[in-house]
């Protein structure tokens, strides 16, 4: 079973912030939920509580950026773009402030339902000029997200995993570099965030069925290296399947579609993700299964792409990793 790391962000942020005096820790009443409670207690001089007032926090952070600081904003992803969108654009994105937007609970990683699930954040952020988007898919990426984000000359939005996080990789995020997890020749599978683990779960069964998978994991969604993707597209026979913890409009499925269209790549594309729908509250495995974001949905997508039937059942996939909704690793049930 994969190694599980408890609260990797908490340690990583503290170490990074202490080594970088211009980094400030901002929070909007979700301090323990974003794993910076220990930092707040140990380094109160570097912590700014902005309360449950995200519009002010966003413009305030723009002012801190103007003064030469690099504020890290900690809250749930949804609260970084839905309510304070105007402030995000005018006070942070336009002037290219070095504000680091640490968005927790990406997509369906929360049972909090519609109000807590950032399902269109990538779409929104991709369309904002000057914005960079990073997404973490494992504990190692969470551990390296602070340095990666803080290397950006401008604002950056990060999808951050919290709590108990699997370790899938042993090298830190290199901004702009996709991870090549398999180099097969039949189908290109592109995942990011928690969907990468799903694709890895399906790997063994697909190999047994004789499908040669080429698998890319994206941790940098914007800016994006078109040429690297084109090379991988050219190397597969059938086409590409994207699987994202996000709506299929404007996320990585759209990103791949745009690049294929721009370059006249005439291959089939299957975009898996939330299909023009909101999600509701429930456990992550339940939601991923219900909305077709899991390993089984990926297998079905690959079947659609290739026109083959592999006879893979859910039992053939590796065991679903179940997180207890209430665990010591999380501050609250959200």
């Amino acid at each position: 079973m994969v190694e599980m790391v408890t609260r990797p962000y908490a340690r990583a942020f503290e170490a990074y912030a202490l080594a970088n005096p211009e980094v400030l820790c901002l929070s909007a009443d979700l301090t323990s939920s974003c794993e910076v409670d220990g930092f707040r207690d140990r380094h109160p001089d570097r912590f700014l509580s902005l309360g449950m007032a995200e519009q002010n926090m966003m413009s305030f952070a723009g002012g801190l950026g103007l003064a030469g600081f690099r504020p890290f904003l900690h809250t749930f992803g949804v609260f970084l773009y839905r309510r304070p969108y105007d402030q995000l654009v005018a006070s942070v994105a336009y002037p290219r402030r070095k504000v680091r937007l640490m968005g927790f609970l990406p997509g369906v990683t929360t049972p909090g339902g519609m109000t807590h699930q950032a399902i269109e954040d990538i779409s929104v952020m991709r369309s904002i000029p000057n914005m960079t988007i990073l997404e973490t898919g494992d504990a190692t990426e969470v551990e390296s997200i602070c340095a990666a984000a803080d290397s950006i000359d401008g604002p950056v939005y990060c999808r951050v995993l919290r709590g108990s996080v699997p370790r899938l990789f042993d090298t830190p995020i290199e901004v702009g570099k996709m991870r090549e997890l398999a180099l097969g020749s039949d189908v290109l599978v592109i995942t990011a965030g928690i969907t990468t683990e799903e694709a890895l779960r399906a790997r063994g069964a697909l190999a047994k069925a004789g499908v040669s998978i080429r698998h890319l994991h994206l941790n940098t969604i914007k800016p994006f290296n078109d040429q690297a993707l084109l090379d991988h597209l050219a190397a597969v026979r059938y086409g590409v399947v994207t699987l994202e913890n996000h709506v299929t409009e404007g996320g990585i499925g759209s990103l791949v579609a745009e690049i294929m269209a721009d370059h006249g790549v005439g291959k089939k594309l299957i975009r898996l993700g939330l299909k023009d729908t909101y999600a509701h509250g429930g456990s992550r495995p339940y939601l991923m299964h219900y909305y077709g974001l899991d390993a089984f949905a990926l297998v079905a997508g690959i079947e659609r792409l290739t026109g083959a039937r592999f006879g893979i059942t859910e039992a053939d996939l590796d065991a679903v990793r179940i997180d207890a909704v209430h665990s010591a690793a999380k501050a609250e049930a959200l």
Binding site: L48, S49, L50, G51, A53, Q55, N56, M57, M58, S59, F60, A61, G62, G63, L64, G65, L66, A67, G68, F69, D86, Q87, A90, S91, Y94, P95, R96, P129, N130, D153, G154
Partner: protein, 308 residues
């Protein structure tokens, strides 16, 4: 370059320039000059501790928006001098006051009169709604209610760096309808940001007309105080009251000066338009000519010669 002229003279000059511009261009943000002339004149001519301008007297054309590749980009803050630690910074939170703010820069010798001729012309940085790159501007404030928050963040950052310069925000009363204003004040008070100062043009006007008819805001003073500011309430056309208000001690709290003003101060002829003064537009050639004759007489200048 402070106090070369009396602040009253600067204020009159602001009204004259904005009036001339409005007649010449067949409309403009004229009432903002009526209500805010003393406040802007006082800020630039007396209160702000700012250095010599660092940008050309005649503004350079638009050089593009901020982007990773635009190395030529700069804000318009250089018209307020360098961002040195000891100097004050000013945000014009309601960017619709840009015309009056540009006129102020000219009156205090920080921009050439030619700058106003570039107002709202294609390819110019002297934009109608003051942009970050427009003369005297440092951040985008065209979306109302964000200026005070940005000022609070800048003041907090400057305090952490040990800078002695203050942050001043010129505000408008319409902004108190935005929830963000209250978020900003409570945060500034919570964090004891007393280097944040604001003067608010309380002219009781907004785009749709009188504020009382658009959205009643009740006592702005009581609300600002309740959220944690020290508040001074003054006649916004009385410079002595303005000077005294700025000296009000406010340790650990932001200072808000509520400047009660008249949106046709100095141009009584506009009173008949009240309460629709957000943007003065002429209904006919006769209206334009009559306004020209009457207001120029009030401002003691010859009528504006216009050709179109």
């Amino acid at each position: 370059m402070k106090n070369m002229r009396a602040t009253e003279e600067v204020a009159l000059g602001i009204r004259r320039r904005v009036f001339e511009h409005t007649i010449r261009n067949n409309g403009g943000y004229l009432s903002q000059a009526c209500s805010a002339a003393e406040q802007l004149a006082w800020l630039y001519n007396e209160e702000l501790n700012i250095g010599e301008p660092t940008l050309p007297m005649i503004p350079a054309p638009f050089v593009g928006v901020p982007s990773a590749g635009n190395t030529a980009y700069h804000t318009g803050a250089g018209y307020n001098g360098p961002a040195d630690p000891q100097y004050d910074r000013l945000f014009i939170a309601p960017a619709h006051y840009a015309l009056a703010a540009y006129a102020t820069l000219i009156e205090v010798g920080r921009m050439a009169p030619e700058g106003l001729q570039m107002f709202n012309k294609d390819g110019s940085s002297v934009e109608m709604i003051g942009a970050e790159h427009s003369p005297g501007m440092e951040v985008h404030n065209g979306t109302l209610g964000i200026g005070l928050s940005t000022g609070a963040g800048l003041a907090m950052g400057r305090r952490r760096k040990g800078e002695s310069g203050r942050v001043w925000v010129f505000m408008s009363d319409g902004e108190v309808q935005e929830g963000q204003t209250w978020e900003a004040i409570q945060a500034a008070a919570f964090h004891g940001i007393d280097t944040l100062n604001a003067i608010c043009d309380v002219n009781a006007q907004q785009c749709d007309g009188a504020m009382a008819s658009v959205m009643e805001v009740r006592s702005i003073r009581a609300k600002f105080e309740a959220f944690g500011a020290v508040v001074a309430e003054i006649d916004g056309h009385d410079l002595t009251e303005m000077r005294d208000a700025a000296r009000l001690p406010h340790p650990g709290q932001p200072l808000i000066i509520l400047a009660r003003t008249c949106p046709y101060q100095g141009m009584g002829y506009l009173k008949k338009r009240f309460p629709r003064l957000h943007y003065v537009r002429f209904k006919s050639d006769d209206d334009r000519a009559a306004t020209n004759a009457a207001v120029s007489a009030e401002l003691r200048v010859p009528p504006v010669a216009y050709t179109h």
